[in-house]
């Protein structure tokens, strides 16, 4: 018998939605690794129920382990015919589970850094990402916090492709990091603040930020860059070549973009326009980067990544394209460790290369 919700940790109807049919099991990368119900979406929802009703103790080690083992990739959500909002449940779970000192220290540190706008700006000065004066018109390019530091090229490429994008330096962080690491209140607050700083349309080059922002600012205010380029009608570009032939290019979907926002077609179409597109088996499966996951659980992250790298190497592509800085970093590190000849690029970097080829 379903038990009365007692603790109010989860939205009541959210937990009830799951009927334990098990349709989501094969979609879950952590269940694929372990074959253990506890690390499946259905099993985690059962654990959440046990937490909610007090059947399990707050400090239960399995609750702690499973809330952190979950990648948050939300591929369980897209296959669930009952419409269970797993992503929301996970945020609520981590809000409760990772309060205060129970949150991993790396996550705490990162969250502290990115919620300080001045630190982000400083980082931007050093790293030379795209920067324009604040303008009222034109969509704003969001400068992701990770990307600002690691991949300033990405925002520059986006601006080169689409000069109408403004990139004001004073914009802060979208709060996705907080929402995924057990502080959804702060995550929502940061998203709203960013929305105020960048009125009008916001274009992001990070799938994770796009999904988080669109839940708080509304789907129509937020565009992921591939989506934006496809919609705005990209200008004629040249082609990306590898030696004396057209380059062969694969895509790695960003989980939140695919599972949270349903964007899958546009990046593929854009690649097709400038190169030979190759669909990887499992392109939609998580790469294991999963926001801070690769830092928090490096071993599990690599276990999820490995079969993907095998598939990339077997496919004979020249480039693999990511649409999120975390995934890009994950793929680059993985490929480098294997001394692979395949290069990982952000979608806009690939398109920028095609643009250069034409100019």
């Amino acid at each position: 018998m379903t038990e009365p919700a007692e603790r109010g940790i989860f939205g009541k109807d959210l937990l009830d939605r799951c009927i334990s049919c098990g349709f989501c099991l094969p979609a879950c990368p952590t269940y694929e690794l372990t074959g253990d119900e506890a690390s499946s979406p259905r099993g985690r929802i059962t654990l959440m129920r046990a937490l909610e009703t007090g059947r399990l103790d707050e400090d239960d080690p399995t609750l702690a382990e499973e809330s952190s083992f979950c990648l948050g990739c939300r591929s369980c959500e897209t296959v669930c015919p009952a419409g269970v909002e797993y992503g929301t449940l996970l945020e609520q779970w981590r809000d409760h589970q990772w309060r205060g000192r129970r949150r991993p220290w790396i996550a705490r540190l990162l969250m502290a850094v990115v919620s300080r706008t001045w630190l982000l700006r400083l980082q931007g000065l050093v790293r030379r990402h795209a920067r324009t004066r604040k303008r009222e018109d034109g969509p704003a390019l969001m400068l992701g916090c990770v990307e600002r530091g690691l991949y300033p090229r990405v925002s520059r490429a986006a601006r080169a492709l689409r000069p109408e994008l403004t990139a004001p330096a004073a914009q802060g962080c979208c709060g996705a990091l907080h929402a995924h690491n057990g502080d959804s209140a702060k995550g929502a607050e940061l998203a709203r603040e960013l929305g105020e700083r960048l009125p009008g349309r916001i274009v992001t080059t990070a799938g994770g930020c796009a999904a988080h922002l669109s839940t708080h600012l509304g789907r129509d205010r937020v565009k992921e860059v591939g989506e934006y380029l496809a919609e705005a009608g990209h200008r004629a570009l040249g082609e990306v070549r590898a030696g004396d032939r057209r380059a062969r290019v694969a895509l790695q979907d960003s989980c939140h973009l695919r599972n949270g926002m349903g964007v899958t077609r546009q990046p593929r179409d854009l690649i097709r326009a400038v190169a030979d597109y190759v669909e990887l088996p499992g392109a939609g499966d998580c790469c294991g980067a999963a926001g801070t996951y690769a830092m928090l659980r490096p071993k599990d992250s690599r276990a999820v990544l490995d079969p993907k790298l095998d598939a990339i190497e077997q496919s004979g592509v020249d480039y693999v394209v990511a649409v999120n800085p975390g995934c890009l970093r994950q793929l680059q590190q993985g490929l480098r460790a294997r001394r692979s000849t395949v290069r990982a690029l952000h979608l806009v970097e690939l398109l920028r290369e095609a643009q250069n080829a034409r100019e």
């Binding site: 009927i19 074959g35 654990l47």
Partner: protein, 460 residues
């Protein structure tokens, strides 16, 4: 009851300490399966990796009197994997190798933890078809399918899992390993234990290897949809199709509520205003398929279909079948407690049965949606209700008792494919009579003298 430390130590010595779980959080996810309203926590969850390990675990359990509940993916809908008496839940997902696929012999040999879809895909890659096609195929395991004798969407033309099991390796609760059947299409040496174990719901032995028959993949396939004013009209069309001498591979029906729910998830552009939908499909060479689909469309039209359309390509066919497979979870969008049942009647009685279900639902003021494998006479009346409404839950139980009685009265049965488990055990004697129940118990004792294997289910 918790297991004494010496027992858990002994289990750890067999399968390795990390494959024995006893902590509350580790046990909680194994307290239920896909069946609503049943819940019982085991004392340990054990993950063996080989036949030998399974044998040692079972031997230990028999010696110490510990109940053991085998489990595949836990997608069954009759509480068959709920550990009613506690003890061990024995999870078989680590036995997940495809051992062999033989084109010459048209068979596959797999471990029980392989999912149905993985087996089907691996066979497909060799140009072969694994015919059984339960709606849960992407998640459910071959072991679970054999243990429940799963049916599915190709039942009419191809039959159910039983028709494809050639041989089994099974471990008896006493630890003895038996190999029943084998690789042969013809073999009558001894009692047919392969058939006995198929559908035995984890109460007689634990299956650790399965040999199944495969077929050459048909050259083509196609699907069509016919809309009717009511489910009873659709049922009459089913009888008409069969009477016309057609044996389609797939003949599935959904009532209006199911179509609406499925449409909300899958957005296929199905008509949600009609009373019922009949999904029909066939396979074979392209011209045979085209001919059969055309004839089925004709029969449906003369049986009063409001509209008939044929899927334009394979992708559309697959989408329609996938949508049909998710009817149950999609229905739960209407309310959060969905109790699905599984009754079968002779096909000519289908229309009468759905009328009776409607009347029973109305009398108990319940919302019952119905879908199922129409071609097999197999219906899944599904009650959708609010879990907090204790009165409604109570009425649902009464309504289902009446539905089972109606099915038996019309010459049908209380379960066509999902099995008896703990959920249907109270109704079993009504269907098979006390003599057979007693015989089942004697058979159970022969296999499982200590009565440790899945107690509270068949044979108890």
């Amino acid at each position: 009851m918790t297991l004494p430390k010496q027992d858990t130590d002994a289990l750890a010595a067999i399968v390795g300490a990390e494959h024995v779980r006893v902590e509350p959080g580790e046990l909680a996810p194994y307290a239920r399966d896909a069946t609503p309203l049943f819940h019982a926590e085991p004392d340990a969850v054990v993950f063996p990796a080989t036949t030998g390990e399974v044998a040692e675990v079972l031997k230990l359990a028999t010696e110490r009197g510990i109940p053991v509940t085998p489990r595949g993916a836990g997608t069954n809908l009759c509480a068959a994997t709920v550990a009613e008496r506690g003890g061990i839940v024995l999870v078989l997902t680590r036995l997940n190798r495809i051992l062999e696929i033989s084109r010459e012999e048209l068979l596959a040999r797999v471990e029980p933890g392989v999912t149905t879809a993985r087996l089907a895909d691996a066979a497909g890659a060799e140009g072969l078809l694994y015919a059984p096609d339960p709606g849960s195929r992407t998640a459910s395991t071959v072991g679970g399918n054999v243990a429940t004798c799963a049916g599915g969407l190709r039942g009419l033309k191809y039959g159910v899992t039983r028709n494809y099991v050639l041989g089994l390796t099974a471990v008896l609760p006493t630890g003895e390993v038996v190999r029943t059947g084998g690789r042969l299409w013809k073999d009558v040496a001894g009692y047919d234990l392969t058939r006995l174990l198929t559908g035995s719901e984890g109460t007689l032995a634990v299956i650790t290897e399965v040999t199944v028959a495969l077929l050459p993949t048909p050259a083509g396939s196609g699907t069509g949809v016919a809309y009717f004013g009511s489910l009873a009209d659709a049922c009459r069309a089913v009888t008409a199709v069969i009477s016309a001498g057609l044996v389609p591979a797939t003949l599935e029906f959904l009532d209006q509520k199911c179509v609406a729910a499925v449409e909300e998830f899958a957005a296929l552009g199905l008509r949600t205003d009609a009373g019922a939908l009949l999904l029909f499909g066939d396979d074979g060479t392209d011209d045979v398929v085209a001919g059969n689909l055309a004839r089925m469309a004709e029969v449906c039209t003369s049986a009063g279909a409001l509209e008939v359309t044929l899927a334009e390509d394979v992708a559309r066919s697959e989408a329609l079948l996938a949508a049909r497979r998710c009817s149950l979870p999609a229905l739960s969008r209407l309310n959060s407690l969905t109790i699905l049942e599984d009754a079968t009647v002779p096909r000519p009685k289908l229309a009468e049965m759905v009328d009776r279900i409607d009347a029973i639902a109305a009398r108990h003021e319940l919302m019952i949606a119905t879908f199922g494998h129409a071609g097999d006479g197999n219906l899944h009346p599904t009650c959708v209700l609010d879990p907090d409404d204790a009165g409604a839950v109570d009425r649902a139980h009464k309504a289902f008792a009446e539905i089972f009685a109606a099915a038996v009265e019309l010459g049908g049965t209380i379960t066509g494919e999902h099995g008896v488990g703990a959920a249907k055990l109270p109704y079993l004697a009504d269907r098979i009579g006390p003599e057979q129940v007693a015989l089942l118990r004697r058979i159970k004792s022969a296999f499982d003298p200590a009565h440790i294997l899945n107690p509270g289910k068949l044979g108890s």
